[in-house]
């Protein structure tokens, strides 16, 4: 697959000039009252995912208002006044689902103006291929909300520190890893162990969110999760700082939700402002009860400093304020020996278990061109006695699957230069017999089999190499080697998800798996899901160690790891059938 021409994201092959798109969102009534012809706007232009001039081919410009102090005060007052409008409890839930469904339907419909606007702007602005964006637009329904009410009412106890705790009404388990070692005493006493981890917290009045990066939807995730607290408490004012690298998608979804039910989103604002605007930051952070920051580690450290300073400066109210950090993360895949076989895995398609696992694990790696925190970097492959093929056969199978998927989801504006450099590097290792490269120089991905035992520095370097569709297949003799030899070499705070292809048909979560999951959790993994779902985290489960209960309750420092399934094989099969392409 030699690249003959660069991707130029001119929708449907036609070059056109697109007027600046709104990279912010305000409730309609607030929008019309707040923004005047005199309001200053900031613009950013990207083409093929890179900063560009407005005249560049395929350039897309987004704009957002630069509010002055008086406008900010007016905005916060208006949103606060609106807090009486959103419904609560069951009524909220029914209307919220309906509105989200409406937005999902519009975005998924190619003849809908909203879908067309997204397809005209998102590929050029973010650099992801139109096919990738189309998939995201169709996938809004995959962010299942059905389990969110049960998740919000889940009250974990300190037993979750010692063993996996079921979550009533939701498949899977949860386990808590406290940061304070003395909390272990809760595990020694049956009475203490039954105590809830959370304590009651005063409802949030103002939530400030920060979204970053160019993977669409970070700001939306923050907005939707915080809106969903209306199931349990009054809707807070929600102000989310949108990413300058992708300010479009979240705004479009909120626009569609407002059409369906304006009351649901009337306390929410999505804007862009500068972290360096210290007066504004201090004002917002001193008012906030809850800050949710999805950003780089450096930005989060900076924000946390600002948040602590702002909190100290505000008058004591007795009400705690919380800071949820979602920093830079890495994710992995684990392929169990039971999936490393050519025996039939899906009676419908006749595909083998290995093909199914490889297809879905490939998907976890290539979605968002491996730029996402959820993207699987290394595929650990268990070469146990159960499998009838080895990791080399898996790498071969993965190569076939990637070739197939790449025609369906082509690489976006990610620079082939980096792929080429990594190709050269691993080819050099191949000459020394230290690794094997399966893909070609001109493939839009790289598959490497690497059996070398690595020191921590070298392993971390390898993990860093795995971006832009670079997948390292690393064999392990036993699945326990994954946490014991490898995951422990990654800083805990940087670990995120493990996508697993593990389990036999009809098999539930058995002790061996739970032990494996517990060790992964202890290394810092915060979510364990089945392969193919890596890029579609479910809102009911742990997001970087925070569970939905964290939005309405307080707990000691630490993190949750959740398993997002009860019967892994059945879930894998259903994902495969959902994603089936020929």
């Amino acid at each position: 697959m030699r690249r003959d021409a660069p991707h130029k994201f001119e929708p449907d092959g036609c070059a056109m000039s697109i007027p600046p798109i709104e990279g912010f969102w305000l409730p309609q009534q607030v929008h019309s009252n707040l923004l005047t012809p005199e309001t200053e706007f900031e613009e950013r232009t990207f083409a093929n995912g890179q900063p560009a001039s407005a005249q560049a081919p395929g350039a897309v410009t987004a704009r957002w208002p630069r509010l002055n102090g008086a406008q900010w005060a007016t905005l916060l007052e208006a949103l606060e006044r609106n807090r009486s409008r959103p419904p609560q409890g069951g009524d909220f839930w029914r209307r919220f689902q309906a509105a989200l469904h409406h937005a999902g339907r519009r975005l998924a419909n190619p003849s809908d103006a909203l879908h067309q606007k997204a397809i005209q702007t998102l590929p050029g602005y973010t650099g992801y291929s139109p096919a990738m964006i189309r998939l995201a637009l169709r996938a809004l329904d995959l962010f299942s909300l059905e389990q969110l009410p049960a998740a919000l009412s889940f009250v974990p106890t300190w037993q979750a520190m010692e063993r996996w705790q079921p979550m009533p009404g939701i498949p899977g388990r949860a386990r808590f890893y406290p940061q304070q070692p003395w909390r272990e005493i809760y595990g020694w006493s049956p009475i203490l162990a039954r105590q809830p981890i959370y304590k009651r917290s005063a409802p949030s009045q103002l939530v400030i969110g920060y979204g970053a990066g160019n993977v669409p939807g970070a700001a939306l995730l923050i907005a939707l999760l915080t809106q969903a607290v209306s199931l349990a408490i009054a809707t807070p004012v929600i102000v989310v700082r949108n990413s300058r690298h992708e300010p479009i998608f979240s705004s479009l979804v909120l626009q569609a939700m407002e059409e369906a039910d304006p009351d649901l989103v009337c306390t929410t604002a999505l804007l862009v402002w500068d972290f360096e605007d210290q007066a504004l930051q201090k004002d917002l952070l001193s008012r906030a009860d809850l800050v949710i920051a999805a950003a780089s580690d450096e930005t989060i450290a900076d924000l946390r400093g600002q948040f602590d300073a702002a909190r100290r400066s505000r008058p004591a109210t007795g009400q705690a304020s919380r800071f949820h950090a979602h920093g830079h993360k890495v994710s992995f895949s684990a392929i169990g020996a039971e999936m490393l076989t050519r025996t039939e895995g899906d009676p419908d398609s006749g595909k083998s278990k290995m093909e199914i696992a490889a297809r879905l694990a490939a998907l976890d790696s290539i979605l968002w061109d491996q730029n996402g925190c959820l993207s699987a970097r290394v595929h650990f492959v268990e070469e146990g006695a159960e499998g009838d093929v080895d990791a080399e056969a898996y790498a071969d199978c993965l190569l076939d699957q990637l070739r197939l998927l790449s025609t369906w989801l082509p690489l976006g504006g990610w620079q082939p230069r980096r792929l080429h450099e990594r190709f050269d590097r691993y080819k050099n290792l191949e000459r020394a017999g230290l690794a094997k490269v399966f893909s070609d120089y001109d493939d839009e991905f790289l598959v490497i089999l690497d059996r070398r035992p690595l020191e921590a520095d070298a392993f971390r370097q390898q993990v860093n190499d795995c971006q832009g569709r670079v997948i390292v297949v690393r064999p392990v003799a036993h699945r326990m080697d994954i946490p014991r030899r490898y995951l422990r070499m990654i800083p805990k705070e940087n670990l995120q998800s493990l996508s697993v292809a593990i389990g036999e048909p009809g098999q539930a979560l058995e002790d061996g798996f739970l032990q494996f999951a517990a060790e992964c959790g202890a290394c810092g993994v915060t979510a364990i899901r089945t392969v193919g779902r890596g890029a579609f985290p479910q809102l009911a489960y742990s997001w970087d160690g925070w569970i939905p209960r964290d939005l309405i309750g307080e707990r000691p420092p630490g993190y949750f790891c959740t398993i997002e399934f009860d019967q892994p094989y059945e879930q894998i099969l259903s994902t495969y059938r959902l994603m089936a392409i020929n």
């Binding site: 690249r3 660069p6 093929n48 995912g49 890179q50 973010t126 650099g127 970053a212 990066g213 160019n214 993977v215 970070a218 690298h245 999805a294 780089s296 580690d297 979602h326 920093g327 830079h328 993360k329 890495v330 968002w368 491996q370 730029n371 996402g372 925190c373 993207s375 504006g413 620079q415 082939p416 230069r417 080429h420 450099e421 190709f423 050269d424 590097r425 080819k427 050099n428 290792l429 000459r431 020394a432 230290l434 490269v437 070609d440 120089y441 001109d442 070398r452 690595l454 020191e455 070298a458 971390r460 993990v463 860093n464 971006q467 990654i490 800083p491 940087n494």
Partner: protein, 472 residues
């Protein structure tokens, strides 16, 4: 298929026909064709003699014969080609595995088989381990004296040095290349006094070549001064940079004792002393009425300016004097080059009242050439180097004014030992490079041919990354 013998004949013929200085006589539009022929011959030679190059290009589906469309595929990245021993050995310390390191190095060289003991067969004569990288490199140079091999390194401030070899032919070509550029772009002549705020003994490529080349210009040794009295061996550079330490107790000592001590020494003793010596030499040159070339890092040049300012002294040097730098910024140095230029302009002037020009030099360990900054501020690529910029898809941009990843081919100056075809880790705005030439874009200094626009060179690893994925 081109065989080894044909490739050898082509290479010999090429070297005999071409002198580097002749390229200035060739009009810019005619240069690419001549250079392409040289690249073809050089490629064929290396493809048939250099195992690492052969395999890297075969993996890219390139054979011994090439067309102009293949040129981008000949480029290997400077950022990894001669650092790849780290991957192969599994350690950045070659002294721990000297024989494997030497095997790696030989693998990357285009060597002719001779009647003597073949290079690969001598590896067993190296020791099992060496106490330092410098000790290993000396032993290698000793063992391969007949090949005239000299090992050079990058500045190594990342803690992971580029290590490559030059033979006598490559050294001569590099020296020729540097001195031609010094003469043409800096106006260096015999009557200059050269002052280097750098150590005489170093393996750092650019420092070494600048020194050699000025000797070639004809500046006598008594008119060449190195003001840093201590050698800068690769191990010392590594420890002082604080980016890579040995493991175990040795690393503990490096981290806890040697690094702080060396940095303290550098800051409080070595640098002030080197700057003081340079200032004294400058004052002497002023008194003698001799033109000077002062070559130093930005930080040391600033040290000179500040030292003169503290003495309330404004130097009056003969016109033709020059201040040169090859970069060298501490990450935390609080002054930008513009401020340093300003401070130098206040303290170092010519007798006709003008500030002494400050010129930068752009180069790298892998390049046997350097781009000298002209009086208009642009960086001129020597005309015997084929230079291009790559787009995000690793293809040449063919417009006469293009910005991208800088790549170069040095088929004549690069020597026969290593294929000098590289893509760098730098993004730059290239004017009149590749096959594109627009006379209207010629540099205001009057020089025609390819140049890098002033202030356009940027390390690509400093550019923004997308997404929320971590770099650990």
């Amino acid at each position: 298929m081109i065989g080894k013998e044909v490739a050898e004949r082509q290479m010999v013929g090429l070297s005999a026909q071409m002198r580097l200085a002749d390229f200035w006589q060739i009009p810019p539009p005619s240069r690419p064709e001549i250079l392409f022929q040289a690249i073809q011959a050089s490629h064929a030679w290396h493809f048939t003699h250099n195992p690492a190059y052969h395999d890297a290009l075969s993996a890219r589906r390139v054979g011994a014969e090439i067309s102009p469309q293949d040129l981008p595929r000949l480029l290997r990245p400077t950022s990894q080609t001669f650092k790849s021993y780290i991957d192969i050995l599994g350690t950045p310390f070659p002294q721990d595995q000297p024989r494997r390191f030497m095997a790696w190095l030989i693998d990357h060289l285009s060597l002719q088989t001779t009647g003597d003991l073949a290079p690969g067969e001598r590896i067993g004569q190296l020791k099992e381990r060496y106490p330092s990288l410098e000790a290993l490199l000396r032993d290698i140079e000793c063992l391969y004296t007949d090949l005239g091999i000299e090992i050079i390194t990058s500045s190594g401030t990342s803690g992971r040095s580029t290590i490559l070899a030059r033979d006598q032919q490559a050294i001569e070509r590099t020296v020729e290349s540097f001195y031609l550029s010094f003469q043409r772009y800096f106006g260096m002549q015999l009557d200059h006094r050269a002052i280097f705020i750098m150590p005489r003994q170093t393996r750092i490529a650019m420092a070494r070549m600048v020194g050699f080349s000025l000797r070639q210009v004809g500046i006598p040794p008594e008119n060449t001064f190195f003001t840093i009295p201590f050698p800068a061996y690769p191990d010392q550079v590594r420890v002082r940079s604080g980016r890579a330490y040995r493991s175990g107790w040795q690393g503990w000592i490096e981290r806890r004792a040697l690094n702080p001590f060396m940095n303290w020494m550098n800051e409080h003793i070595v640098s002030p002393q080197a700057v003081r010596r340079a200032v004294n030499l400058l004052l002497q040159a002023e008194a003698d009425g001799v033109k000077i070339l002062l070559f130093a890092s930005w930080v040391h040049l600033h040290g000179v300016a500040l030292a003169l300012r503290s003495q309330k002294k404004v130097l009056q040097l003969p016109p033709g004097s020059l201040l040169g730098t090859g970069g060298g910024f501490k990450e935390f140095y609080p002054y930008a080059p513009d401020q340093i230029r300003h401070d130098l302009a206040q303290s170092v002037r010519t007798t006709d009242g003008q500030p002494v020009p400050v010129r930068d030099v752009y180069g790298m360990a892998e390049a046997n050439w350097a781009a000298m900054q002209c009086r208009a501020g642009n960086y001129h690529i020597p005309p015997w180097v084929y230079v291009a910029v790559l787009d995000a898809d690793d293809r040449f941009q063919t417009t006469p004014d293009a910005t991208g990843i800088l790549a170069f081919f040095d088929p004549l100056g690069g020597g026969d030992l290593i294929p000098a075809f590289y893509k760098t880790a730098d993004q730059a705005r290239l004017i009149n490079g590749s096959t594109a030439y627009d006379p209207a874009l010629d540099c205001p200094c009057g020089e025609s041919g390819a140049y890098l626009a002033q202030a356009s060179i940027q390390r690509v690893d400093l550019l923004d990354e997308a997404g929320c994925a971590a770099q650990i």
